[in-house]
Every structure is written in structure tokens, then in C-alpha cells.
Symmetry: C2
Subunit: 350 residues, 2 copies
């Protein structure tokens, strides 16, 4: 059976005040389309993963939001981290829960707050990768074909001469590269084997469990040792006690950069991590002046290259701005140059 | 007895969205001091005019706001205009009401939405003018000593060689001058006999009634003909019928520019009509960057020469603005260059 794991523990601090610790970006209708990011994420797996196989790993604080926003998934599939330990413990936890329920699971791991424009192509790629993962012990990453010299993403160096036997769209990975400087990114984008790491992974349950055992034994040991309580009423108490003991490390560092059988599926389906207000502006429908406006009662005069994000019912008039963020949520308003958005954490400090 | 007439029928469209047709500027805590403009207006007459002699002329729509904001004045002293007919009908109406109650009244007429910083000096000037008006048949205007070549005010040309016998601070008026162009205003400000017309008038009841009879007989006739219903339960019905028939004209045009016994009391008590966002900024305490901020949770970064007006509890961060209005009330937000504020009526159109 196919399973979907959504990692939804982020706090979205770069999108303040639209995103707040109380309700971070993945639970917000960022695009003003009537669906939050986590809802859109689940939506795009419809037909690929049944609702009962959707798993969400998030913070304890967000349990009720997840349950409310994703009413079709089993409440028991919402796994709660008592603290933030990066992605390796998160994946280890949910993998052991899935293994106990479905020892033949094939799994997609996905962030909760990314944008995908071409959902049919996304589904084709995911289905193909799941099929491949079900037949092999491959760890498959999705590599986005870059459209610009982006310095905000990690890159996957792929050996395009080494297509897999069973799926000619999937290639062996040579190396993972950290976020590059601009010059390096410009070199990457000229090549065709340097792909953006979208943080989407596909594997079967035995592959990931084996990889955890080999490459992340400290973390794996904690959850393997909890098999008798996982899925029982004692699970959360045990997790509260043991989860904080996990090493704080990403799945990329813990496994992907160490394991051998790592593969990449190069794809193009209009993906963006929408990690900044600037990328939100670039990936949203713009008016003739390059403004991205979320809000149904916003009037702009002599305004260009701005991103305006307000509640649907808010009445807003903006005159004479170029290159600004105007973002408002609940009791808070931010007006800030897009070029200064890396300071939003500073601005949002109480 | 001294009486205070507050004209409070304005709609304050230039201060949208802080000021709205539902709750215009005079009923707003513009300065963030906990008192609305009309409350501040009444406050500054304390000790000069007793509460039972405070009269407010306003639109029917604002009756409840006035009653709520000025709980100490008699409800029967709130006079309601069924439509806007400028200041002459307003003053005729309230003058006949006062005459029937107090045939020896001395009256100050004041706008409801102006700023006075030096209240003791204001009270000294008003008391002196009331004393003078009680002893003479003078129509006394208050002339503000100009501090800049303001093109937004009318000017009073005063004969400073002709001080009155009974009060050496009061002088005969030579002429009223309409709002000048900048060059003319620059000439005015160099002289010492060109004074801003603050729209504050002082007279006794017989003086104004006589002037109305002589110079505004159409308007006066309507109210003089209603003496038997004024102050009775039939008043409002009669006003609804007859008030709209009044000529639409200001007291300046109808009487001041025609009558002979017009005097001016030159004064300086930190007055401003606060008619624009720009003048609000100039007349409010500014930070080192020239920002005027109303709101207790507003943080500014690299921001100067702005006026920010939001509800006290609103959390606002502004970065990188120079010379802008950021104003918010209820469901509406305006961001606009101060230099474009004359377009606010356009912006506020639904």
C-alpha cells in the first residue's frame, strides 16, 4: 500500500505575520485559494495514497489544527513531536509506526508547505517513483530541474549517464550539495545534472528501516525499542520521554549523504518551496505591475513589484509602493521592503 | 450666561479610513490620547461655559455618538440637521434655540475637530472675547497669528491701528481673504495683520439674531417662524420639513463679509485645524525621524516623515518608508504617500 508522510512541524518564521508560531505557514491559506498548504499537499496525492494512509508528523501544539484541516485522515495518524529534532527522528518515528501497521508499505515523504502547479505531472512522477521503490531497495529523491541560479536550495548532483534498469527516468545520485553561493549556483544552472533538492523522498518501508539501522542507529534504536507501545494508548507518554533523546539531525545528513543506493528522479512540475515572500510573489499570479495580491478587496495605485497578503474581507488601499511586502493577519500588520525580508525574524521579535 | 455652540456636522473625508461617514474625525481619538476631538473641544471650555449651556449641531446620523461621547451635556441641546446646508443655517437654528432659553446669552461658536495646545491661553482669550461681546454688539472672530505661509486657511485682514476702546486686544477687521496661493500666503506671513481664520466666533445673542435678520433674512425667517415649536416635541418634525429649504451658505459669506461691526482677536494658543494627514503629522509629537505615531505597539525601522495611525492594540511593523500615511481602522487599511493625500477621496470610493 502507498503511504504519505507529511512533515508539518515547521514554524514558518520567515512569513510573519501571515505565519505565526500559533498557526504557521503550512496551516495558512497562503494563496488565498480557500485551501491551506497542508490541505493542498494532501489534495495532490488523491488517487495515489488513500486517506487512511496519510500520516502527519507535527508538534503537539498543532494537533488540533491538523485534525481540523484534514478531517478525512485518521486522527491516530497524527504523530506529535514533543520537541523539534529535525527530520531524521521524525522519519524514524513515523516509519516504525507504519511498519507495525503495514510491513509492505511504500512511502512518500513530503514537506507540508510547498507549491506544486502541475499536479497531474506531479502524480505521474510520484506514482512512477513509488512503483520503482516498491520493486527495489532504492532511496529516491525528487530533483527539480532548476529555472534560475537559486542560492536558497540544496542541489542534487545526478549521474545522468546512469539511468536505472527498471525506470529510465531515475538516475544514481553522485552527491548532495549544500546551498551554493551565487557564482556556484550560476554554474550549476548551466549544467543539466544539478537539480534542486525538493525534500521529497520515496522508499519502501524495509529500505528506510534498514537505512536507519545502519546509518542512524541511535535514533533508530529509540523507536525500535518502543515497538510494544507504538500505536497504543501509552505511545504519547513514551514519545514524550524518549523523543527528546534523539540526535538532532536531518535525514539528509543522517542517511542520504551516507547511503549507497540513493537515486534521483529529475522532474518539472512547477515546484517551489515558497520559502520567502519574494518567491511567493514570483510564484503567484501577478498583475501588470508585478504585484502578487492575496485578498479580494485590495486596490493598488502606482504600486509595483509588491506582495500584498491580507484576509479576504480586508479592505486595503496601497498607493505609491515599489517592492514591498504588505502582510496582515489577525492583530498584526507588516510593511517591509522585499529586499529586507531576511530581517523579518528581527521584526517579529516581541 | 455663556454658551458654547459646537458645529459637528462634518464628514471628515480627508482622513479616511481613520475618519469614516459612520464615525467622522470629530468623534475619533485622533491623537491617541483617550479623548475624541469633540470631547477635547468641550474639555477646553470647562470653567468658561457650564455643561448645560453646551450645544452641538450635527447630523441626525451622529446623535447617538454625541450623546455617548458628551454624557454631561443635556440631550436636548443636541440639534440635528436633516441635511447639510453649511454653517449659516446651523448657526441660525441654534441661535434661535438659545434665544428662547436665554435671551441674554453670550455665545462662542467653535468647530468640533480642531487642535488647541495651549488651553490656558485659549481660555483667557475666549473669556476676554465673551466679556467684550457681552458689552457690545460686536461680532468677534479669533485670528491666529500665522507661523507659516499656509494656503489651506482663509485669512483675516485686521486693522491693528484700530484697537477697541473696551479691549485693546481686539481690532476692527478690514477684510476676509480666501485661501491664498503660495506666493500670496508668503506675502501675508511677512505682515503682522494677516491672521488665520480659525472659524471660532464670539457674539451675544441679540447681535447674531440682528445680523441674521439683516444679512440672511431667508434663513432667519425659517427659524424665527418656528419659535412656537423650537424646544417642543414637534421641533424635529418641523426642522425636517423646513431646514432643507434654507439657503446653503457659510456664515462667513452670509454675514461676516457683509456686516460692519466685525472684530478680530489676534491670538496664539497652538491652534491647528488638523485638516490633513500632513498637518496631523506636523502637530503631533514626532520621533527623531519625524514620524508621528498614534498606536502603542508600532515599531519603525528605517522609516521617516511618516504618520502612522492605528488602534492602540494593533501590532504594526513598518520598515523602509519615507513620507507615507499608514492608517488603519476597523476593517480598512490605507498606505499612501503624504504628498498624494489629496487623492484620499478617490481612494476611499467604494
Amino acid at each position: 500500500m502507498n503511504h504519505l508522510v507529511i512533515m508539518a512541524g515547521g514554524i514558518g518564521s520567515r512569513f510573519w505575520p501571515m505565519s505565526t508560531p500559533q498557526c504557521p505557514k503550512q496551516f495558512v491559506d497562503v494563496l488565498g485559494c480557500g485551501r491551506t498548504f497542508i490541505q493542498l499537499t494532501v489534495d495532490r496525492f488523491k488517487g495515489v495514497v488513500p486517506a487512511e494512509n496519510v500520516w502527519v508528523v507535527t508538534s503537539e501544539a498543532y494537533r488540533d489544527i491538523v485534525a481540523e484541516q484534514l478531517p478525512d485522515m485518521p486522527k491516530g495518524n497524527i504523530l506529535l513531536e514533543p520537541c523539534r529534532r529535525n527530520t531524521a527522528p521524525c522519519i524514524a518515528y513515523v516509519s516504525w509506526r507504519i511498519k507495525l501497521k503495514d510491513p509492505k508499505a511504500n512511502i512518500v515523504v513530503s514537506p507540508s508547505d510547498h507549491l506544486v502547479l502541475n499536479v497531474p505531472e506531479f502524480q505521474r512522477v510520484i506514482s512512477s517513483a513509488l512503483q520503482y521503490a516498491s520493486e527495489t531497495d532504492a532511496i529516491v529523491t525528487l530533483g527539480m530541474k532548476p529555472t534560475r541560479p537559486e542560492t536558497g536550495y540544496g542541489y542534487i548532483q545526478t549521474d545522468l549517464s546512469a539511468a536505472c534498469e527498471r525506470n529510465k527516468e531515475i538516475f544514481r545520485v553522485d552527491a548532495f550539495k549544500e546551498k551554493p553561493d551565487l557564482k556556484t549556483a550560476q554554474e550549476y544552472v548551466k549544467k543539466n545534472n544539478m537539480l534542486w533538492n525538493a525534500g521529497i523522498f520515496v522508499w519502501n518501508i524495509n529500505t528506510i528501516i534498514n537505512a536507519l539501522r545502519v546509518y542512524a542507529p541511535q535514533i533508530n534504536g529509540i523507536f525500535e525499542g518502543m515497538q510494544n507501545v507504538l500505536g497504543t494508548k501509552d505511545e504519547q507518554a513514551a514519545i514524550r520521554e524518549r523523543f527528546p533523546q534523539c540526535e538532532n539531525i536531518s535525514i539528509d545528513y543522517a542517511i542520504l549523504e551516507k547511503a549507497d543506493e540513493i537515486y534521483c528522479f529529475p522532474a518539472s512540475f512547477g515546484w517551489s518551496d515558497l520559502g520567502t515572500w519574494g518567491s511567493l510573489r514570483e510564484n503567484t499570479v501577478q498583475d501588470a505591475g508585478g504585484n502578487a495580491v492575496i485578498g479580494s478587496n485590495v486596490k493598488l495605485y502606482e504600486t509595483k513589484n509588491c506582495v500584498v497578503h491580507v484576509a479576504q474581507e480586508r479592505r486595503v488601499v496601497v498607493q505609491g509602493l515599489d517592492g514591498y511586502i504588505v502582510a496582515e493577519k489577525d492583530n498584526t500588520l507588516l510593511i517591509c521592503k522585499l529586499s529586507e525580508e531576511q530581517r523579518i525574524k528581527e521584526f517579529s521579535a516581541e
